[in-house]
């Protein structure tokens, strides 16, 4: 299940674990990325709190946790080469994986068509 937030993040749910990243639209708006900070594996995130930071040459942007849960994995490629997040944000440039504390948390989020209309 692929879902999107109005903060321009995507989540792909497999079992009770969601992979999280920023959308292609967000990456285009941010421009060249030069630094990525990710949460620690094992961190308990609350929905709405800053989970990661993506920085372009000019600006730092917080990426908020779209759901509550425990971080199970982070993407070392995103940290080692932030350009990966810029060039393939919805693929190789994923940010982290989170085990949802509430499996119903994805319910209210946008599907791909709704997000495409939202980001237009």
């Amino acid at each position: 299940m692929l879902r999107f937030t109005d903060e321009h993040e995507w989540l792909k749910l497999e079992g009770d674990i969601a992979t999280v990243g920023i959308t292609t639209h967000a990456a285009e708006q941010l421009g060249d990325l030069v630094f990525i900070e990710l949460p620690k594996v094992g961190a308990a995130l609350k929905k709405g709190e800053a989970a990661a930071v993506v920085e372009s040459v000019k600006a730092a942007s917080d990426v908020y946790a779209p759901v509550s849960g425990e971080v199970t994995e982070v993407n070392p490629a995103a940290v080692d080469d932030p350009a990966t997040v810029g060039s393939d944000p919805q693929g190789a440039g994923w940010l982290y994986r989170i085990r949802l504390s509430d499996p119903g948390a994805m319910d209210g989020l946008m599907d791909e068509a709704a997000y495409a209309a939202f980001a237009k």
Binding site: D32, V34, F35, S61, Y64
Partner: protein, 392 residues
């Protein structure tokens, strides 16, 4: 996602009401045709970046040449029967030797206030018997009012409705010379009235990138044609405000409103070089500018704090506003970062900020607080990249 700095993020800001719609420069249609992302800046719609993106634009300027629309900046002509009268009147506002500024030369200057702060920084060019100032966009109206309040009525003040294009980079001369062969003979900080592609222009060999290059003042209606002629050269890429800022930061140059302003003196800002010897304590025309008492005493005794270059030792960019600490565990900050980001040519984060003079020696480690963490930085001599000016 949440932005805490300059760049806008999706969704786009709501449309600006028509009454306060930003002004357009003479190159507006050119920017749109080039696919620029436009942002409001100092009352103007300006290109933040073009499709190439900030990193490529920055590196292209250092390797070849970049074209910048800086038409938002203020261009002010001063005329009088006796050019020495203009120089004397400007010297009462700017701590520079302007009586000694030869025709065909340009100098960096500062409008100071009575408390020794910096109202604006500017370029002063002497062209024959007139002077032309280039001032910051956000200070244009204030600077004009400042001049009208302080210059004698015998000096005519005219804000020029002209475009201003900067061509910057090691290939700038090669890009400009086919349209204006005389520029090849110019050196750093020369100012000339020349025809560029048959259009009457004021050309100075200067800029805001640390590279060799030119600023070209043109009649507004001719600017787009000249800009497009430059852009037809494979050596020239259009450059937005984003790369303009990262280029000037690597060059160690100040941004008024961030690194300098009314609360910083020229000596604190490490701009003492802009205070000409003739205007200093033992000079021929010592003092006589606003804030002279403080500024001259700081030149003698040293300022309490100093603008310095800062190299973060981690990969985390340190942004303007970050507090600086002498020690990793200190409670009280000793200074603040005023400019900071990623330096594409340095390939690392770079920053500038103010520190107490006792902590401002190159090589000293200090700490910045970023997202609750103390990160080490090293005080570094400016600029971060060597200047490419054509001084010879």
């Amino acid at each position: 996602m949440h932005e805490d700095a300059v760049e806008p993020v999706a969704p786009a800001a709501p449309p600006v009401p028509r009454s306060i719609e930003p002004e357009r420069t003479p190159l507006h249609a050119t920017h749109l045709a080039l696919g620029a992302r436009m942002v409001p800046f100092a009352g103007y719609a300006m290109p933040l970046q073009y499709p190439a993106g900030l990193l490529k634009e920055h590196l292209y300027t250092r390797a070849a040449a970049g074209l910048f629309d800086v038409s938002h900046m203020g261009q002010i002509a001063l005329r009088a029967d006796d050019p020495a009268e203009i120089a004397r009147a400007l010297e009462a506002l700017i701590p520079a030797d302007l009586l000694g500024l030869a025709p065909g030369r340009q100098r960096y200057g500062l409008f100071t206030d009575a408390s020794g702060g910096i109202l604006d920084d500017l370029m002063v060019a002497r062209l024959g018997d007139r002077f032309v100032l280039v001032v910051n966009a956000a200070r244009k109206a204030a600077d004009e009012a400042h001049l009208r309040a302080h210059l004698p009525a015998s000096i005519q003040i005219e804000v020029l409705p002209r475009a201003l294009i900067a061509l910057q980079g090691p290939k700038a001369e090669a890009a400009l010379a086919p349209l204006a062969p005389e520029v090849a003979a110019m050196r750093f900080m020369d100012a000339r009235e020349v025809a560029v592609g048959g259009v009457p222009a004021i050309v100075t060999r200067s800029g805001y990138t640390g590279e060799d290059g030119f600023e070209i003042s043109l009649p507004a209606d001719a600017a787009a044609g000249i800009a497009e002629a430059f852009l037809a050269s494979p050596e020239v890429l259009p450059i937005g405000l984003g790369a303009r800022d990262s280029l000037r930061l690597e060059a160690g140059m100040c941004l008024h409103g961030s690194d300098i302003g009314p609360s910083t003196s020229p000596v604190e800002a490490a701009l003492s070089w802009a205070i000409s010897p003739a205007r200093r304590g033992s000079g021929a025309r010592a003092g006589g500018f606003p804030g002279a008492a403080r500024i001259l005493s700081e030149l003698d005794a040293g300022p309490a704090r100093l603008r310095v270059g800062l190299r973060p030792e981690t990969r985390v960019p340190v942004r303007p506003g970050a507090p600086l600490f002498a020690g990793a565990d200190d409670d009280l900050p000793v200074g603040t970062v005023t400019s900071g980001g990623f330096g594409p040519s340095v390939q690392a984060p770079v920053a500038m900020g103010y520190l107490p003079r006792a902590l401002s020696d190159a090589g000293r480690q200090v700490f910045a607080e970023v997202r609750g963490q103390r990160l080490p930085l090293v005080v570094t001599r400016l600029p971060f990249v060597p200047a490419g000016f054509k001084r010879g």
